[in-house]
């Protein structure tokens, strides 16, 4: 099956071509089923690959063809099949399949449905390329491809202005990150002479290059990762990306594209481990982002924005794990997060669909009775997010916090713990506002109805994943996934498993913090003690800052966008006045010259005859002068 690994991206690519070329006229609604079938087939092959890798297959490179061969520089289109990429393949294809099935219901009434599935299929293709690549350059192809599809899909409903602006913002911020990525891979080539992962890691072992170069590479790559994975400072595109259809938010901005940054760092672990300070930066940025985003999520009223900031926060956790030397924990959390966050988004989509595209939670309420399946699956997902045992999120998040505390980062670990509490608080708040209490908009409530089966079945499937996925990581640090991933993400540092008592203590601590968050949240929103509005009034300054998302968007707009606009204005002025001016003056000079020279053509024959005689005069004198030696022989 490993030899067939190229079928995995081939199916979505074929789906993209079919839906794109034939979707508008002939296939229409059928595009959804075709695309879903294609991704389903990919999932089957991916599972087969995973089974074979689990069965003990060696790390394999499956080449397709030689892409670039110029002098010393050669890059192949080849797939690297090892535990890490096998896990990613399965996660991407399985979650994508469920979301594709769901989208058949959600996008059924949209007139652009063929476009949706074409681009979604292209996205899956690009993501798979990213995950399967055996070198940085091919990965970059996938990297750019997912960025492009993100732009296309965020701006899917481009008839309205907001999606268009959001798509542009996402793409530009991605691009800024890509600049970092490009610098990183160019430096990799300059230092190691190759862009191939295996070559680079081998040469890293053989000859230790300069620390400075390594740190540069790692920081540049991480900067690219912050763009893709929405960490500080390039995170603000993700909440705006919620303008896209909910399945897009679920797939791209929860489960797959935003995890490519995590995957990049995990894949480059040998490099990061060798450049010591880079990992510290990763951990720090991840932690700060985690708590930063969690605080904003506390006060948002748009249900999708709550989920978006939650995603940013959880990604911060993954980077924290990578930074403290627990990459297996990061990938573990990536897997569990894919399930429960996708579920949260799809459930939100179900709610939005039921409430006739209303997204403001203040107008919802009491939907528990109307949307039972959605409610229960979202409760499961919310519990996983809040890291309640025995749901999947508990195992993965607890491991991250534990790794931070035991690997010598107590402060980061404590912040992670605190953020866990905030997470529990905001997700409880969101669920309560949507599903419990009195319906705040009666006529919207009247028309709410549960979604069709094509939408609820994926919810149930994802819920099962949210419950069971934790099993691969039990017990902490010694579970299946740790040993499985070890060859891929080895850092070269041997770790001792912490004593059982420590593990239990940390686990207990995180559960307590989560429960505390839930209790406080329920107390505020269910009982009104203290009343949320009163709290907001009392801490008005802080509240306003949080609601306005720390004014980051305004800051960026003022510092960067205005500067860019000024520069563009200056360049435009230069173009108009200097360059065009030069061209215009030149043309004017020619015209003037013509106007002057035209006066020679008087039309009077006598003048022309005179000119002939004058010419004769000139010739005769010239000849005479030459003959007389005046001009020298």
């Amino acid at each position: 099956m490993i030899a067939l690994v190229w079928l995995v991206p081939a199916f979505p690519l074929a789906a993209f071509l079919v839906c794109g070329l034939f979707g508008r006229r002939w296939l229409r609604q059928a595009t959804g089923w075709i695309a879903s079938a294609a991704v389903g087939a990919s999932a089957v092959v991916a599972l087969g690959v995973l089974a074979e890798v689990m069965g003990g297959a060696e790390r394999t490179v499956v080449p397709l063809y030689r892409w670039i061969a110029v002098g010393d520089f050669s890059v192949d289109v080849a797939a690297l099949v090892d535990p890490l990429s096998a896990v990613m393949l399965v996660v991407v294809t399985v979650v994508s399949f469920l979301i594709f099935v769901y989208s058949n219901g959600y996008m059924a009434h949209d007139h652009g449905i063929h476009r949706f599935f074409a681009w979604l299929s292209l996205f899956v293709f690009a993501m798979l390329i990213l995950v399967m690549a055996d070198n940085y350059l091919l990965m970059f192809v996938g990297w750019e491809g997912v960025g492009l599809c993100s732009y296309l899909l965020i701006g899917f409903w481009f008839e309205r202005p907001e999606p268009y602006y959001a798509a542009k913002k996402a793409f530009v911020m991605n691009r800024i990150g890509d600049w970092g990525y490009t610098i990183g891979i160019i430096t990799v080539f300059l230092v190691f002479g190759s862009m191939n992962f295996l070559d680079v890691f081998r040469r890293l072992e053989e000859s230790a290059p300069a620390q400075g170069a390594l740190t540069l590479i790692c920081l540049a790559l991480f900067f690219g990762a912050t763009g893709k994975s929405a960490q500080l400072p390039l995170y603000s595109w993700l909440p705006d990306a919620m303008e896209g259809p909910t399945p897009v938010s679920a797939l791209i901005h929860a489960a797959t594209m935003v995890t490519s940054g995590v995957y990049l760092v995990a894949r480059s672990m040998p490099l990061f481990a060798a450049a010591g300070s880079a990992l510290a930066v990763v951990a720090l940025v991840g932690t700060i982002t985690a708590i930063f985003a969690a605080t904003i999520a506390l006060v948002q009223f748009d249900i999708k924005r709550v989920m978006a900031y939650s995603t940013v926060s959880q990604l911060g956790y993954m980077f924290l794990a990578l930074g403290v030397g627990a990459p297996a924990a990061a990938i573990f959390h990536l897997v569990t997060h894919a399930f429960f966050k996708a579920l949260l988004f799809l459930g939100s989509g179900s709610v939005i669909h039921a409430m006739n595209n209303e997204q403001d939670m203040r107008r919802m309420g009491g939907l528990r009775a109307k949307l039972p399946v959605t409610y229960w699956t979202m409760v499961i997902a919310g519990g996983a997010l809040a890291a309640l045992p025995p749901l999947a999120g508990f195992w993965s998040k607890d491991e991250i916090v534990g790794a931070a505390l035991t690997n010598g980062y107590p402060l980061l670990g404590a912040v992670g713990l605190l953020t866990g509490g905030l997470t529990a608080f905001y997700i409880t708040r969101a669920l309560w506002l949507v599903f419990h209490g009195q319906p705040r908009e009666p006529h919207l409530y009247e028309h709410a109805h549960e979604s069709r089966r094509v939408m609820t079945i994926p919810l149930l499937a994802l819920a099962a994943g949210a419950v069971l996925a934790g099993a691969i990581g039990i017990p902490p640090d010694q579970g299946f996934i740790h040993s499985f991933l070890a060859p891929s993400v080895e850092t070269g540092a041997t770790e001792q498993a912490p004593p059982l008592a420590t593990i239990l203590t940390i686990a207990l601590g995180s559960v307590v913090v989560s429960v505390l968050g839930i209790v406080v949240s329920l107390s505020m929103y269910a009982r009104g003690r203290p009343d949320p509005a009163a709290v907001a009034r009392a801490a008005e300054g802080y509240y306003r800052v949080l609601v306005n998302k720390y004014y980051v968007d305004e800051l960026y707009d003022h510092r960067f966008v205005d500067a860019a606009r000024a520069f563009a204005g200056a360049a435009w002025a230069f173009d108009i006045h200097v360059i065009d001016g030069l061209a215009n003056r030149f043309g004017w000079a020619l015209v003037m010259g013509g106007t002057v020279l035209r006066r020679v053509q008087t039309g009077i024959v006598g003048n022309y005859a005179l000119t002939i005689v004058a010419g004769l005069l000139f010739v005769l004198f010239a000849y005479g002068g030459y003959a007389a030696g005046v001009f020298g022989r």
Binding site: R598, R599, Q601, T602, G603, I604, A609, L610, V613
Partner: protein, 103 residues
Amino acid sequence: MIVPLGAYIAVSAALFFIGCAGVLVRRNAVVILMCVELMLNAANLALVAFSRKYGAVDERGSVFVVFVFVIAAAEVAVGLAIVLSAYRNRAVIDVDEIHQMSG
């Protein structure tokens, strides 16, 4: 005393440049044509003089003169035709008045 060759050439030159001045100075188109004929005559004289005054007679100069006659006749005929049709159009014979082809 023999008339030197140079005298003939001098006469030819003088007549040629008189004709040239006439072409440049006169405004009546017919008169311009007359002055052109003067110039052609001067050329003929020079040709014949040179053909007869360098030892043996070189009849090629005379042959050339015959052809110059032909050309001159053809030229004056066509020239007058042009002048007449231009006159028919605009009833002016003054070449200074005909300047529609100015730039």
